[in-house]
């Protein structure tokens, strides 16, 4: 099984088997690209049921996370992820700052010191979900980021148990998150600013669940290199 991503020049690179600092750095770099590409879309979703600032908040957060990773200068994946969490808490406004900050921080706390295998990653995704639910008091079906993060954590556990590799585990987690985000469309928001709209929140995809898919898919892409 491959354990390193930094093979000799010209050698065929196997996808990484575990979540190491290189994967985390690629993750946040990917996330920055993807959020910038999706900024207008997230803004549009948030304009329908929020304050139309989710796109700008997330891109600002990703830039701060990149800086934090560069400054952290460590080869411990868990510490990098926690540093991203702290950067997001500080830099993103609204509800997304505390929520994504908490998610990344809890992930970093749960990840082992050594590079994480799929089982450890699944456990970290559950820890992140738990922390977000404790902070936001949102349940599955409340039309929040939990509707993407919860099925992703469940799918990651199942995939890891079935022996899927790191990339395979993340592919299944992302697919579950995408389904969960799409399923928020008909729901009525029960938490967050969108809940102020009551029935008028129905018929719109939740911006937080949508950005959660982007966060997870950036990690998948980082693990597939």
């Amino acid at each position: 099984m491959s354990t390193s991503n930094g093979g000799s020049p010209g050698a065929a690179l196997d996808p990484p088997a575990s979540l190491d600092h290189l994967v985390v750095t690629r993750w946040i770099t990917e996330l920055d690209h993807r959020l910038r590409a999706a900024e207008a879309y997230l803004t549009e979703l948030d304009a329908a049921i929020g304050d139309a600032d989710h796109g700008a908040n997330m891109t600002r957060g990703a830039r701060a996370a990149l800086t934090a990773i560069a400054e952290e200068a460590t080869t411990e994946a868990a510490r990098l992820v926690a540093a991203v969490g702290h950067a997001l808490s500080r830099s993103i406004g609204g509800a997304s700052g505390p929520l994504y900050g908490t998610w990344f921080t809890a992930l970093g706390r749960r990840l082992p010191d050594a590079p994480a295998d799929p089982t450890a990653l699944a456990a970290a995704l559950t820890a992140g979900l738990d922390a977000v639910q404790q902070l936001g008091a949102a349940e599955l079906g409340d039309k929040t980021m939990v509707d993407a993060l919860a099925p992703a954590a469940t799918a990651a556990h199942e995939a890891a148990r079935a022996g899927a590799g790191l990339a395979g585990t993340l592919r299944l987690a992302v697919a579950a998150a995408e389904d969960g985000a799409l399923a928020t469309v008909p729901l009525r928001a029960r938490k967050g600013r969108a809940s102020y709209l009551g029935a008028r929140s129905e018929g719109h995809q939740d911006p937080g669940a949508t950005s959660a898919v982007i966060v997870l898919d950036a990690l998948r892409a980082a693990a597939e290199v």
Binding site: A47, G50, D51, A52, D53, G93, G94, A95, S96, G97, P98, L99, Q133, Q134, L135, G136, A137, K191, G192, R193, S195, Y196, L197, G198, A199, R200, E202
Partner: protein, 258 residues
């Protein structure tokens, strides 16, 4: 209570929640026969309070907008608040809301956007469980009967993980509001949002609502000058409504929290 009037109101409330419903859906939600609901709904359609769309589903009609506009235009609290809310938003740079208590919820009757030109949701007409917002705490602190009912009769919902829901703790918090004359909340209704609010009284020394600002939680707790601005706005609106003292003398010696 007149049964048919009560049913008519129930129909309007169901349509408010669900937007569009077929006759059979409406009837099953009210646990009434189709024929009974049809008679009432046909009357509401004839009077413009309900309308039927192309696919036969019922929804609220334009008559409701006319009624709600008149409510907003004739709500004296709102009218008296208009000038003061603008001024408060200007001075604090924050969004300003005026709310009234209705069945355990704060209904926002006036909202001035944060004066930074950004896109913001209009909040007039939204309701927030009273215990989760500083507006609600400001009103409940001076409405002991409503506070008692709310704290005793309901399992209070958590709007975020930081909503205060323990009745004993909330009761103490309301006593603290009476001592300070202002209420505060952070991350309790919406994560990332903090509030400062103060109660508004009328000429009968009754609390009729509250005025409050909304700021990012990163700016909480707000400084004394900002808190004073909120209190001053509440005092000024209360004076316009005929209040002789703020808070009323019945509350002046704040209850010792017991």
């Amino acid at each position: 209570m007149i049964q048919s009037v009560d049913r008519a109101v129930s129909i309007l409330v169901e349509l408010q929640g669900a937007r569009r419903l077929r006759l059979t859906e409406l009837a099953s939600r009210l646990s009434l026969p189709n024929s009974t609901v049809h008679g009432i709904v046909a009357t509401l359609v004839a009077r413009g309070l309900v309308e039927q769309d192309g696919s036969g589903r019922y929804g609220l009609g334009p008559g409701v907008l006319r009624l709600s506009n008149v409510y907003l235009d004739s709500n004296e609290l709102r009218l008296r608040s208009l000038g003061w809310t603008e001024a408060l938003a200007e001075r604090t740079g924050a969004a300003v809301r005026v709310g009234v208590l209705l069945a355990g919820d704060i209904v926002v009757v006036h909202h001035v956007l944060r004066p930074d030109g950004s896109h913001q949701m209009r909040e007039i007409g939204i309701d927030i469980p009273a215990h989760g917002t500083a507006l609600g705490k400001a009103v409940l602190a001076y409405d002991p009967e409503q506070a008692r009912q709310l704290l005793e009769d309901h399992a209070l919902p958590k709007l975020t993980g930081r909503t205060h829901v323990d009745p004993a703790a909330l009761s103490e918090e309301l006593a603290a509001v009476r001592r300070a004359g202002v209420a505060a909340a952070a991350d309790e209704a919406i994560l990332g949002e903090a509030e400062v609010a103060a109660p508004i009284f009328d000429g009968h020394d009754a609390v009729v609502g509250a005025i409050g600002i909304v700021v990012p939680s990163s700016q909480a707790p707000t400084d004394q000058a900002t808190t004073d601005e909120v209190r001053r706005a509440a005092v000024n609106i209360s004076r316009e409504l005929g209040a002789a003292a703020w808070p009323p003398t019945t509350f002046e010696v704040a209850s010792s929290g017991g």
